[in-house]
Point group: C2
Chain length 292, copies 2
């Protein structure tokens, strides 16, 4: 791909810093500038050598950039969008990495000037760690990146964003934004909600029992705590901004859990066995799809 002239990354957390690593590795931009509402994060990125410069204000970061990437929690998009909008040159592409896509179009769409292209995206990759030191170039290798252009988006702009993600090592899928939010509600938002809940249930246990839960966590609980250690602000914003889709899958989940609870209460072993056999097959599909 033709490198971008200047990429501005707004927000240097896990994903922002991994992006910076990946852009440097792939030589995907002539120049890379970082802005973060916490100046220490931007300074750290500069110190790590993963960006060329930092900006004190977001408006300053996006000046002359041909690609601007939002990598902050979704709740901050609207204000940040309004702040940079007057400083975007025609032809600039504005993208992001958020886990919800309809809300991005709702919050950024209105402030994007004519001639500027809004092409939201979402890399299906992450860890439970946060901050500029958590990033690494390999995070996106072999993973999916979903690009969700709103109807009527310039095709060349969509292709530029797709090419960026291919350059970062990912496979690209173009998807309708609302469909993205429904798929991610089940693959990502519900699992996180459940993990947060179960770890919370354990936190509320009496002192001694809680110590034992930590001690014997290797029996299953541990796997949930990793997910439930993800960034609190980012996840609060995901749930507040994908409300309908999350509540819908949560309803399905609760019905299924209630049926299982009833099967346990009445000793219906066959129903349990059948479900446990079906779920095993799903694991095999994931291994076959090389996503395990």
């Amino acid at each position: 791909m033709q490198p971008f002239r200047k990429i501005a990354i707004l927000g240097i957390g896990l994903i922002g810093s991994s992006l910076a690593h990946g852009v440097k590795r792939g030589k995907l931009a002539d120049r890379l500038v970082a802005y973060d509402s916490n100046p220490a994060n931007a300074a750290r990125a500069l110190e790590l050598g993963i960006v060329d410069e930092t900006a004190e204000y977001a408006a300053q970061a996006v000046k002359d950039a041909d690609l601007v990437i939002f990598a902050v929690p979704i709740g901050g998009y609207a204000d940040l969008g309004a702040a940079i909008a007057p400083h975007l040159a025609p032809g600039t592409i504005v993208s992001d990495v958020g886990s919800v896509k309809m809300a991005v179009i709702r919050d950024l769409g209105p402030s994007i000037p004519a001639g500027v292209h809004l092409v939201p995206a979402h890399p299906i990759a992450g860890t439970e760690n946060s901050g500029p030191d958590a990033g690494f170039a390999e995070l996106f290798d072999g993973r999916w990146a979903i690009v969700t252009p709103p109807p009527g988006t310039d095709e060349a702009a969509t292709e530029r964003v797709a090419a960026l993600w291919r350059g970062l090592g990912s496979s690209v899928e173009i998807m309708e934004p609302g469909h993205h939010d429904r798929v991610l509600a089940i693959t990502s938002h519900l699992p996180h909600l459940i993990a947060y809940t179960i770890v919370g249930t354990a936190t509320d246990l009496e002192g001694t029992l809680q110590q034992e839960v930590i001690k014997f966590s290797a029996s299953g609980f541990r796997d949930f705590t990793r997910i439930a250690a993800s960034d609190p602000t980012m996840w609060r914003d995901v749930f507040l901004n994908n409300r309908e889709a999350v509540l819908d899958v949560l309803q399905r989940f609760t019905e299924d859990l209630t049926a299982l609870q009833r099967a346990i209460r009445w000793g219906e072993g066959e129903q349990l066995f059948d479900l446990f056999t079906r779920t095993r097959a799903i694991r095999r599909s994931i291994i076959d799809a090389k996503q395990a």
Copy 2:
């Protein structure tokens, strides 16, 4: 420790075969015999060189054994116990590796002859794989093994079983059987139930959506599928045999989930943020306890 003269392992699945590997590695028995209701499993263990002999009948396997270990799903204990009971020599120790302990005492206790010691145990270790080829000696290294002698158990017999687990690389905790079942209901049984449910909810999705769930599983869902790929028979028996404790923690979990659902519906971001921050601290405790 003084090696056992002859250990009989009843059931050569993941745990039974890992036990065999570990006993060989640690030279913890002069002789090791395997019985499995599926003769192919026992034959495979012999072929792998992890046992010295196989027995066609369980009664034959326990002959002259000074330690007999049940490593079959809990639902099979009562029948297998009745079959071996007349063939147990006085002084023999009968133990097991099941994830539920009150049911073991209930099902095995009545058939254990006078002079034979019942010392149930539970290694906090496992993988999602099954069968004799899934076992490995390192499975128990650095993990906990919980030993749950019923009231009045011979102390020397309890110590022999504890020494076996230390020889297998584990740290030993002695625990009251009912307390074990309550702790494991939250650390292990509830997480498995939740994982099975969420993967089941996804399995029930319409065809295209299901394919996308598999494709984009790296966003959280994947971690649940590993747990939900565990052995169906074993887990059916766990839920049927730890019913009260599981239903009790499930009730707590459901209340917490309902509260969270309500917070999402009404946009109560602070409540979400507070929970997500608390759960992060639990992850840190697990890392500090070296169980991550």
